[in-house]
């Protein structure tokens, strides 16, 4: 069980390849990538919703196929999101927002084909790069994280929580959402004291709130509600795509931006509370600053498309690093994944690598192979994916709803979770309407219990001496950084307010 397969030995490669091309795993890889691209290409549906929709399927799978199908959706949706961004200037996922800046102008010039090709190449390269990072960084970080004790986990959870608060567009609304999430994490029987909190004597609440029904509600059902009430028709696309091929000079132009954005994407992905939407704008800005043709940006620069698409795909592997090694999800998609992991009986965290070493390595290799599957699917099926945009909403959204409730019900085989999904779907709809971000609530819920339990454990083990949080090196650094972020965010908000009132 504890065996590690050596990547470089011939037998190791054969073993891993056998695992990756095992029929179920490979089929799930294709299912994941295809559904990912399709879901990503439909504006409004993103990777997290994609995983939610496939929950009834994931639930039945073994560990490796389950991981592969989820990662396939994650990576596929990142590429899929670029298609409507380029063709109808509507990003399919928030992470493709920066792609629309240059993708659509290029398409307007009749060069949509070129834009899609650049997006595909950049996506795949970003995915590959992040896959290698995932493969090399995760085991090292996991070995290191095995030494993590309660103070470190508390500091880590606090660090994640502070980042969430500071990452949203609207600081105050992000905080409100995050704090509601923290409050929700208290519901149920407390592990430390054994007493029931916020259960109102209800059998439904005694076990606490499951993350998945909340995710189903806040993301998928809320989106379906929002879509049903939204009467505007999606914009029409242009018919001509032009050539799909790139010239040698164009290949050369996108090489450096792709490499650079790959690094940015992975780094942003690793930091909890951020994700593809932040990475793509950051990479876009950086590449524009170093570009020899900054004037082309915003008017159809292929470098811009490459930067945005490469970085958002690179966040996939990056975001999975803290999820797998520390059990701390970095964004909404990985939070959904974490919930789904629990469903198939895996607890993400450092012990994952110790107990399931060989399965994890198979998964890493599958992650790399998956990028080539996306390349192939993207190259062969471009015109097919484009057609997805024509699916009438009246067919799509009822189907989404159906799968949502099916997924929620299958969590515990009781209508309880379906009911929770509906309640949070309604809440999510209003949050969407009044622009309260949902991810902070989810991360508050997930990180809240991690923070609370580990703080309690720290105080119990160290005789109520809280200074230990600062005296231990790793937790000390994390605590200082967290406090720094809090102070910095508040200063930022206060100065902004002053600026507003002055103006």
């Amino acid at each position: 069980m504890n065996k590690r397969v050596d990547f470089f030995s011939g037998i190791g490669i054969v073993c891993l390849a056998a695992g990756v091309f095992e029929p179920t795993t490979f089929l799930m890889m294709i299912v994941g990538c295809v559904s990912g691209i399709v879901i990503g290409a439909i504006p409004g549906l993103s990777g997290s919703i994609g995983i939610i929709l496939l929950l009834p399927l994931v639930y039945k799978l073994d560990m490796v196929p389950a991981l592969v199908v989820m990662a396939g959706i994650f990576c596929g949706s990142m590429y899929g999101g670029s298609i409507p961004a380029i063709l109808i200037q509507t990003p399919g996922t928030p992470s493709a927002a920066a792609t629309a800046l240059d993708g659509h102008p290029l398409a307007a010039k009749g060069k949509a084909g070129k834009a899609i090709t650049v997006a595909l190449i950049a996506s795949v390269t970003g995915g590959l790069f992040s896959g290698f990072c995932l493969m090399w960084i995760s085991p090292i970080l996991a070995t290191w994280a095995l030494k993590f004790q309660a103070p470190e986990y508390f500091a880590l959870a606090l660090f994640g929580l502070t980042l969430i608060a500071s990452s949203g567009a609207d600081f105050l609304k992000g905080l409100i959402s995050g704090f509601i999430g923290l409050l929700l994490s208290c519901v149920g029987v407390d592990v430390i004291t054994g007493s029931a909190r916020f259960t109102f004597d209800s059998v439904m609440l005694i076990g606490g709130l499951n993350v998945l029904p909340l995710l189903v509600g806040l993301f998928a059902i809320a989106q379906a509600f929002a879509d049903v009430t939204n009467k505007t028709e999606p914009p029409k696309q242009d018919k001509s795509y032009g050539s799909f091929l790139l010239t040698k000079a164009e290949w050369k132009r996108i090489a450096v931006p792709v490499l650079l954005s790959g690094v940015i994407g992975v780094v942003i992905g690793i930091i909890p509370g951020s994700g593809g939407a932040i990475a793509c704008f950051l990479a876009y800005e950086v590449v524009r600053k170093i570009s020899k043709h900054p004037e082309e940006f915003g008017h159809g620069s292929i470098e811009g498309i490459a930067a945005a698409e490469c970085s958002n795909n690179a966040t996939c592997g990056g975001a999975m690093i803290p999820l797998l090694t520390l059990g701390v999800p970095g964004d909404a998609v990985t939070a959904v994944m974490m919930g789904a992991f629990m469903l198939v009986g895996i607890k993400p965290g450092p012990t994952l690598f110790r107990d399931y070493g060989s399965q994890m390595q198979t998964f890493f290799v599958a992650f790399l192979v998956m990028q080539f599957v996306i390349l192939l699917l993207g190259a062969l099926g471009t015109k097919l994916w484009i057609r997805v945009l024509g699916i009438p909403r009246t067919i799509l959204m009822p189907a989404v709803m159906l799968f949502c409730f099916l997924g929620a019900f299958s969590l515990s085989n009781s209508t309880k979770d379906a009911l929770f999904a509906l309640v949070f779907g309604i809440l999510g709809y209003f949050m969407k309407k009044f622009k309260y971000p949902a991810p902070p609530m989810i991360l508050g819920l997930v990180l809240g219990s991690l923070a609370e339990q580990n703080m309690n454990r720290t105080l119990m083990i160290y005789d109520n001496d809280w200074t230990v949080l600062f005296r231990r090196p790793i937790s000390g650094v994390l605590m200082v950084v967290s406090i720094g972020i809090i102070v910095w965010s508040f200063r930022e908000v206060l100065t902004k307010k002053k600026g507003d009132s002055a103006a």
Binding site: K60, D190, I206, G207, G390, I391, I461
Partner: protein
């Protein structure tokens, strides 16, 4: 464009069917997989079985066992092991497992109580469920159901790191006596079976320890590994991979006698610490169901427990199979109920007392 749309719709339908098929395919391999068990069938069964119970033809339709724990948990895997051979001894009728998890069993038990009493709907019972009735106000007690049989009795063990100075349970007790409240002992949640086993140890030896609660047994054993705590009370098979790898050590087992799985691990009792803790798992039925049905089921389960395939699959899972008939299991529940009520009350745990 219309034709294109139709193609896409067809594709999506095909994909949905594919997904449906793949899940259908996997469920058909195990009789007890949840997809075909999702709908609690009790109501229709009760209706179709009519008011009169006919013992000669019982069972003449599938029997449902409600497991109030998630798939893959201790209660679930042992119930599934029984379900795999149940058919052979029950007129060819399968035992269908329905998992209704949540709230340490409360959710599933509460839902079971809303069903019409039927000889075809059983409930899986575990020590943890008895404990829960004393930790929180519940609408039921351990005596609200008719015991059919007990078929698993697992005992917890103490895990320490391989390099720990404690070689025996006596070393540990001695250290705890000299340093009251210093020894950190992990458990899988306050008021859980492992925590109460530690309290039972404290009660018996008069020691005072620092209880550290974790969300489940695996994080608790991992905390021993990282050096966060001195030792951890665990149930099989928590932490056993680390024991096999040589990173953790089993200090002692709180069973009546040594286990066949770990013949080298002494029991606490033989070290002079008289603590025996059994976590039973069994089957109960609504008190309103016909008594003859309970008797018939007891006979069926007795044969199941003697089945070699069943015994082998429990062995593979490190689960200690036993046979307690209805009377013995009823007595075991009574004993554990009294024990845990005392421990919980005297330590002021939970919300009930």
């Amino acid at each position: 464009m219309r034709k294109g749309k139709r193609q896409i719709v067809c594709m999506i339908m095909a994909a949905a069917m594919l997904a449906g098929c793949s899940s259908g395919g996997s469920t058909s391999t195990t009789a007890a997989a949840p997809a075909e068990t999702t709908a609690p069938v009790s109501t229709e069964q009760a209706a179709s079985s009519g008011g009169v119970f006919d013992a000669s033809s019982y069972p003449n339709m599938p029997v449902t066992l409600v497991v109030p724990w998630k798939v893959g948990g201790g209660s679930d895997v042992s119930a599934r092991a029984a379900a795999n051979v149940f058919k052979t001894y029950a007129n060819g009728q399968p035992l269908v497992i329905t998992n209704i998890e949540g709230g340490s069993g409360v959710q599933g038990i509460s839902e079971y109580m809303t069903y019409d009493p039927s000889p075809y709907t059983l409930l899986s019972w575990a020590t943890a469920q008895t404990i829960k009735t004393h930790m929180q106000e519940t609408k039921f007690s351990a005596f609200d159901f008719r015991p059919i049989c007990g078929f698993v009795a697992d005992s917890p063990y103490l895990l320490v790191r391989s390099d720990s100075p404690f070689q025996t349970i006596n070393d540990l007790v001695e250290y705890a006596k000299e340093n009251p409240g210093k020894l950190t002992v992990g458990n899988s949640g306050t008021g859980g079976g492992n925590h109460l086993a530690v309290l039972q140890l404290c009660l018996a030896t008069g020691i005072e320890v620092n209880h550290i609660a974790y969300e489940g047994g695996a994080p608790s054993s991992s905390a021993v590994l990282s050096g966060e705590i001195d030792c951890s009370m665990n149930m099989p098979a928590e932490g056993l991979t680390s024991v096999d790898a040589g990173d953790l050590r089993m200090l002692c087992l709180f069973a009546e006698e040594r286990s066949d799985f770990w013949p080298d691990v002494p029991t606490a009792k033989e070290c002079g610490v008289d603590v025996v803790n059994n976590q039973f798992r069994g089957v109960v039925i609504s008190k309103e169901a016909p008594e003859e049905a309970a008797a018939a089921l007891e006979k069926i389960f007795e044969q199941v427990c003697q089945d070699e395939d069943f015994q082998q699959s429990l062995k593979d899972l490190n689960i200690n199979g036993v046979w307690l008939d209805a009377e013995a299991y009823g007595k075991a529940i009574e004993e554990e109920d009294a024990l845990y009520q005392e421990i919980i009350q005297s330590n002021g745990l939970g919300d009930k007392y």
